[in-house]
């Protein structure tokens, strides 16, 4: 549960969607990026395409993989 005054964390699906959007726009080989993300996260392509059932742990993996591909410490807001 969030602390009363802490900002609410976006839900995992929204976090994952944002990370995928950023990496697909900025990665050097956009057409290969989703496959790279599948290998890096261990998640199947259809899950990355639909984001069905993405939990916080999977969202964190997607964010880590996106940061790694782009060489960033943090994804841009």
């Amino acid at each position: 549960m969030n602390e009363p005054n802490a900002p609410a964390k976006p839900d995992p699906r929204a976090r994952a969607a944002r990370a995928l959007d950023v990496v697909q726009r900025r990665a050097p080989d956009p057409h290969a990026t989703l496959m790279r993300m599948a290998l890096k996260t261990g998640l199947p392509l259809d899950v990355l395409q639909t984001l069905e059932g993405i939990d916080a742990e999977a969202a964190a993996r997607i964010e880590d993989a996106a940061r790694d591909i782009l060489g960033l410490e943090a994804l841009p807001e």
């Binding site: 790279r36 599948a38 890096k40 060489g71």
Partner: protein, 420 residues
């Protein structure tokens, strides 16, 4: 620099090449970088680096032992001089050693992987880890061979890399702790011969072969520059060790099959992609080069001529005896070869396969048709990353299926490329 020409040989009818009986292959930096990246994506950065470095160390240990034996070189400093020279002749850059039997340090300048990564991606991406797994493994092997040590006595780690904006690449070489891979069968010229099937001929074979010989004659004169790099046809070229590419590819498939088998087809797709990116940059670069125009003629957009010439380039680069079995422009291409440079390794090390795995043939075959039909060759296209992205960002227009593989027990390898 030594002349290693007398140590180069081939199984001519199969277009497979060797240095001191060790299989070699010509590959560009686009292929090399994409393949290494795919290995790390599939296995994770730490395991990926270990697999790549071990593959380099094994391949280089075999090569340097054989070269020293052939040249009659035994003293440590002479062996290290030869190792430097071999490395440069491969287009891998410049390595300097300060090593003893228990290890030491090597420094690299203009290393193929780190330098070309910086050239290709450095403006857009900040790299978080060193890029020169191949040079690390090579440095460890060179130190072992120079001091008469068996493979896996030492290990090397890159501590600074130009791809991460260091001034130079630096390698720490030390006694190996744990993790000694099991010894495996060598895949040399003899092992290669033992698995070769009969040659198959195809359409316009005499023309393909004549063009191959012309290009081979030209390639003989292409040498490393003062940096130890081979820059030609708009790419950085390596005369690489096929064992390196094969070991990392097949090991990655095996490891991923154990950990997450449903992802193996994705890994195989990215291996195909590395073949496609190579065909676009290297084959395309050769076709558009003034040297090629002088030898063979400029590309004119004729699909049949394009495919025949691409098959000739594949042969000249040591990918196997690629033949055109069927070609219907705008509809279908069937390429065959008795083996690719992948097949002997696959059979000797991994045995008969259940599914086709001539990844390079698949990717390059697909690219032959994509490039033949989608590029304006007479307009002298600029074959850069931006054009590649424009061509493929919305997906491929063609698809490829491997319908036969010598590694699966078939008489030849065959890919069929058709419209999507």
């Amino acid at each position: 620099m030594e002349n290693f020409g007398p140590l180069r040989s081939s199984i001519a009818e199969h277009h497979l090449r060797f240095l001191a009986d060790v299989p070699t292959i010509v590959h560009c930096h686009h292929f090399n970088l994409f393949l290494d990246q795919t290995i790390d994506d599939a296995l994770g950065a730490e395991v990926g680096l270990r697999v790549r470095t071990d593959a380099a160390q094994e391949s280089a240990h075999v090569l340097l032992s054989a070269v020293n034996e052939a040249l009659g070189v035994r003293a440590a400093d002479e062996c290290l001089r030869v190792a430097r020279s071999v490395f440069r002749s491969m287009g891998q850059g410049t390595l300097e050693f300060d090593v003893r039997p228990e290890g030491g340090e090597a420094t690299g300048a203009f290393l193929h992987y780190g330098f070309s990564w910086r050239e290709k991606y450095g403006r857009d991406i900040k790299r978080r880890r060193p890029a020169d797994g191949f040079a690390a493994g090579f440095a460890a092997a060179a130190t072992e061979v120079a001091h008469g040590l068996p493979l896996w006595t030492l290990e090397a780690r890159e501590r600074g890399c130009v791809s991460m904006r260091s001034e130079r690449c630096r390698f720490e070489i030390s006694l190996r702790v744990g993790n000694k891979p099991a010894p495996e069968k060598p895949v040399d010229v003899e092992a290669t011969r033992s698995v070769l099937p009969a040659v198959v001929d195809g359409f316009a074979d005499a023309e393909i072969e004549a063009t191959t010989q012309q290009l081979l004659g030209f390639l003989e004169g292409v040498e490393a520059d003062a940096r130890g790099l081979v820059q030609a046809f708009g790419v950085f070229i390596t005369r690489h060790l096929a064992g390196y590419h094969n070991r990392v590819s097949y090991a990655a498939v095996e490891l991923l099959r154990e950990s997450n088998a449903p992802l193996v087809p994705i890994l195989e797709s990215l291996f195909r992609e590395s073949g496609q990116v190579c065909a676009f940059h290297t084959f395309g670069g050769i076709l558009l080069s003034p040297e090629w125009e002088a030898l063979v003629g400029a590309p004119d957009g004729d699909v049949e001529r394009h495919v025949i010439r691409c098959a000739a380039i594949a042969r000249a680069l040591g990918f196997g005896r690629w033949t055109v079995h069927e070609l219907e422009p705008d509809a279908r291409l069937v390429l065959r070869t008795p083996v690719t440079y992948e097949t002997p390794y696959c059979l000797v090390r991994h045995g008969r396969q259940a599914s086709p795995s001539s990844y390079f043939l698949q990717g390059a075959g697909l690219a032959f048709m994509e490039l033949a039909h989608r590029l304006d060759w007479q307009g002298a296209p600029q074959l850069d990353d931006a054009l590649y992205r424009r061509l493929f960002s919305a997906g491929a227009h063609w698809k490829v299926e491997q319908t036969a593989d010598t590694a699966c027990g078939d008489a030849f390898c065959e890919v069929v490329v058709t419209r999507r």
